[in-house]
Every structure is written in structure tokens, then in C-alpha cells.
């Protein structure tokens, strides 16, 4: 990691759902232009961490800072203030969901322009031109006028990426973007993500794709039981994990049967 100040910082994030303590104090630091991959068994809290970074999940305590926007969830916010703070934080990042969550009643192009036009009030023509460029970047310029249901799962997910990029975020969050896809469609989505990484996007990715982690990640964080058990460069965490829990998890992933 370089000497520049981090773009994203999460400190001591905790979150419970009822009696279930999903996050028990998570710290994460992401330098600009780097790719962080979160791995870990299901239920380890990695998706909750990601969703806390853009306040889709409200942490019980802890602090999230992206760029110069910082929200301290330990403060007793009123409902209204919490909503405003969440919106401020959310505007900093683009989110790609496991189940894409495209708007089914809007065309592919309208899915991408919805944020820029309706929320950011950018001129329609400018937003359309930019959206078409984004669709071209994910290889789907020819699908602009179709509805999401007319696309394959991989294409839908690439539209999801274009939609997230369209709000001009400072970093991109990916929540298991390939987990719901047929195996032969995974590659096209990972290829787009790899391109973004090459272009210098700051990305935080929750995934089970170990090859992607090995090739693209600058840091890998292994989560278990609501904490980050181990983190570091992929070569260290994935090849020579220091923790027994990490070793067992990687063993199960690489050699499932």
C-alpha cells in the first residue's frame, strides 16, 4: 500500500440482527485505486460489511469515511438525520448487487440514466450520451432499448455495473456479483470488473472467485464470525495464510468434495 491517504476507512463497525451479532468490530482501510476482496464463509458478515459501507445497512456503532464524507454511526441520530447521513455516504459509492436488482419496468438505457437524470438532474442528452458510453464499455451498447428480462444473467449484471458507474461514484462496491450466474456467464462479468480495476477504479468486492482475488486484488480480507481474521496481499492471505481458520476455509473452497 502506498503512502497516499486512504479513500475509504471503516472503523469498529458493529451490527446485530436481533440476538445475532453479525459484525463484532470490523476495521477496513482501502487506498485509492486499489481492489479489496472480502472472502469468508457464508454468514461471516462480509455482505453486511459491504452494505454498511453505503449505509444500506445501518451499523449499530462504528465510523465509515469515504473521501471527505464521514458518518459516525455511534451517535444517537434521529431518524431524519440518519436518513440524510446515509444518503450522503451512499452517494460516494456505486453498488452492484448479487441479484442485479435492475428496474424491470425501464429499458436498459433508462436503468442507467435514472440516477443521473432523476436524482442528479443532469441534462438528459448529456446523461444519455454518457450512459451509452458506459453501456459500450460493458459491451452492451446494442441492448440499450431492450428490457432487462430480454438479457442473459451476465448481461443484466453488466448493466448493473453500468448503472452503478453512471452516478459517478468515488468507488465501486460489488456484492457477490457472479454468485447468481450460470458458470459460463461468470467470465464476462469478471472481465468487466478486471477492466475497471485496470483503469484505476477503487473497488471493494465480496466474492468466492479465488482466481479473481489472486489476479486482481491488492488486498484480501478473510472474515469469519463477524471479524476480519486476516488481511494482506493475496499472495500472503491466499497462498500462505497465517490463521488456521483461513487455511480451513481456503481448503474447503479449492477442494470442496
Amino acid at each position: 500500500m502506498t503512502g497516499t491517504s486512504p479513500l475509504l476507512q471503516a472503523r469498529a463497525i458493529t451490527k446485530s440482527f436481533g440476538d445475532n451479532r453479525v459484525l463484532r468490530g470490523v476495521d477496513l482501510t482501502v487506498a485509492p485505486g486499489t481492489v479489496t476482496v472480502l472472502i469468508g464463509p457464508s454468514g461471516s458478515g462480509k455482505t453486511t460489511v459491504l452494505r454498511s459501507l453505503n449505509a444500506l445497512e445501518t451499523p449499530d456503532s462504528g465510523l465509515v469515511r469515504i473521501g471527505d464524507v464521514s458518518v459516525d454511526f455511534s451517535q444517537p441520530f434521529s431518524r431524519k438525520v440518519r436518513r440524510r447521513e446515509a444518503a450522503r455516504l451512499r452517494a460516494q459509492s456505486g453498488m452492484v448487487f448479487q441479484s442485479h436488482n435492475l428496474f424491470p419496468h425501464l429499458s436498459v438505457l433508462a436503468n442507467v440514466t435514472e440516477g443521473p437524470i432523476v436524482v442528479q438532474r443532469r441534462p438528459k442528452e448529456e446523461a444519455r450520451t454518457e450512459a451509452l458510453a458506459l453501456l459500450d464499455r460493458v459491451g452492451l451498447a446494442d441492448k440499450a432499448d431492450q428490457f432487462p428480462y430480454q438479457l442473459s444473467g451476465g448481461q443484466q449484471q453488466r448493466v448493473g455495473i453500468a448503472r452503478a458507474l453512471a452516478i459517478r461514484p468515488r468507488l465501486m462496491l460489488f456484492d457477490e456479483p457472479t454468485s447468481a450466474l450460470d458458470p459460463e456467464l461468470v467470465g464476462e462479468v469478471l472481465a468487466v470488473m478486471k477492466d475497471l480495476a485496470t483503469e484505476g477504479w477503487t473497488m471493494v468486492v465480496v466474492t468466492h472467485e479465488m482466481r479473481f482475488a489472486r489476479q486482481v486484488a491488492d488486498q484480501v480480507a478473510f472474515m469469519d464470525g463477524g471479524v476480519i481474521v486476516e488481511q494482506g496481499p493475496p499472495a500472503a492471505v491466499l497462498q500462505e495464510p497465517a490463521q488456521e481458520r483461513t487455511r480451513r476455509f481456503l481448503h474447503r473452497i479449492i477442494d470442496p468434495i
Binding site: 453505503n54 459509492s93 448487487f97 436488482n101 435492475l102 428496474f103 419496468h105 440516477g115 442528479q120 432487462p148
Partner: protein
């Protein structure tokens, strides 16, 4: 046995009954349905509110509307309110009663339709920066509409026929016109049959409109 003059009687009644339909039944239905939809949306959103007192007000409202006869609601507004010092003419009284009634029933349709839209849709809307109202307007309600059309059509079609209750508070709508035409001749069967025909035609037209609307709203769903 029908009297010899029946064909002529039918012909003579078509005009007045049409007048009752166009000037009474149809505007009463349209005004009440439009008002009822707005009210239904408000009540549904209140019911879905995380603020408990707000959601309870909505619950109570729906309970009272569904738990009391529509005819009684009509009577309370037209015959009951004057004793509290508020006298309202027959037509507006009927509009108010039917709006309140549709608002109660249709709020449950709206609530179910909103809940049918996957949670991920609102989350995705939030991630592109939308607030609550924008999410509702741009993302949730357009998708909820598709689900709401069949049950909402039921509500509308019921309303068309329920407006006949307004005849009991002197609103000159279709049924009232039929009663007026029948009274001097005692040809109740014939005139009520004509009135029934009118109601049925209105409902047929609405059913066609429903089918058309469903097809339109289905265009973005894989068949």
C-alpha cells in the same frame, strides 16, 4: 305477463335512464374512485409506516370501513352529520361516503401491491441516490401497479354497482331514475331490467379496459 305497452315503455325509459347514468352513476363512480385511490395510497403508506401510531391509525380506519355496512356509512354522512351541524347535499354526500369506503378497501390492495415489489428494488433505487418519495414514484409504484390492476378492477366494478345505494339519499342516479320511471306504471320488472342492462354494459366496458391495461403493464415481463 308483460303489459302490451312494454316495448314503448322501454323505449321511453332509455333516455331518462341514460341521463341518470351519465349525470349520476358515472360521475359518482369516477369522483369516488379517483378520491378513493388517493386516499388508499395515503392509508396504505401509513399502514406500512415504521412509526407505530401512524400505522395503527391506518389499521383502525380500514377496520371501521370494512366492519360497517356501506349503506350505514352513507346514512351517517347524509342523515347523521346534519345533527352535528354539517348538512351536505345528496351528491357530495354520496361522493364522500364512497370515497371513504373505496379508500379503506383499496388501501389493502395498494399495500399488498407495494409489498409485492422485491426489497432489492428500493435498495437499488437508494444506491442511485433516490429518496423515499422518488423511489415510490419512479420505481415501486409503477411495478406495484401491475399487481394492483386485477384486484383494483374488482373494487371499481363493485363501486359502479354500489353507487345504486345513493338512490336512498335522493341522488338521481341510474337506479333512482328507474324507480321514478316505474312508479307511475308499476312496470318494475321491465324498468329494473333496463337498469340492470345499463350497469352490466358499464361493467363490460370496464372489464375490457382492465384487459387492455394488464396487457400494457405486462410488456416488461417475460411471458
Amino acid at each position: 305477463m308483460l303489459a302490451d305497452g312494454t316495448p314503448g315503455l322501454v323505449r321511453d325509459s332509455l333516455g331518462p335512464l341514460l341521463e341518470g347514468t351519465v349525470k349520476g352513476t358515472i360521475p359518482l363512480t369516477l369522483i369516488s374512485f379517483a378520491g378513493g385511490l388517493v386516499l388508499a395510497l395515503i392509508v396504505a403508506l401509513m399502514r406500512l409506516s415504521p412509526v407505530t401510531p401512524v400505522s395503527w391509525i391506518a389499521r383502525c380506519y380500514v377496520s371501521v370501513i370494512r366492519g360497517t355496512p356501506l349503506l350505514l356509512q352513507l346514512f351517517i354522512i347524509y342523515y347523521g352529520l346534519p345533527s352535528l351541524g354539517a348538512t351536505i347535499d345528496p351528491f357530495p354526500s354520496a361522493c364522500i361516503a364512497f370515497t371513504l369506503n373505496v379508500g379503506g378497501y383499496a388501501s389493502e390492495v395498494v399495500r399488498a401491491a407495494i409489498l409485492s415489489v422485491p426489497k432489492g428494488q428500493a435498495e437499488a433505487a437508494a444506491t442511485v441516490g433516490m429518496d423515499y418519495v422518488t423511489t415510490l414514484r419512479r420505481i415501486v409504484l409503477p411495478q406495484a401497479a401491475r399487481v394492483a390492476v386485477p384486484p383494483m378492477s374488482n373494487t371499481l366494478i363493485s363501486l359502479v354497482k354500489d353507487t345504486s345505494l345513493a338512490s336512498t339519499i335522493q341522488v338521481t342516479e341510474l337506479l333512482r331514475k328507474a324507480q321514478e320511471a316505474a312508479a307511475p306504471t308499476y312496470e318494475f320488472f321491465t324498468l329494473y331490467a333496463v337498469a340492470a342492462g345499463y350497469y352490466w354494459v358499464i361493467c363490460l366496458v370496464l372489464s375490457f379496459a382492465q384487459t387492455h391495461l394488464e396487457t400494457r403493464l405486462d410488456r416488461y415481463v417475460a411471458s
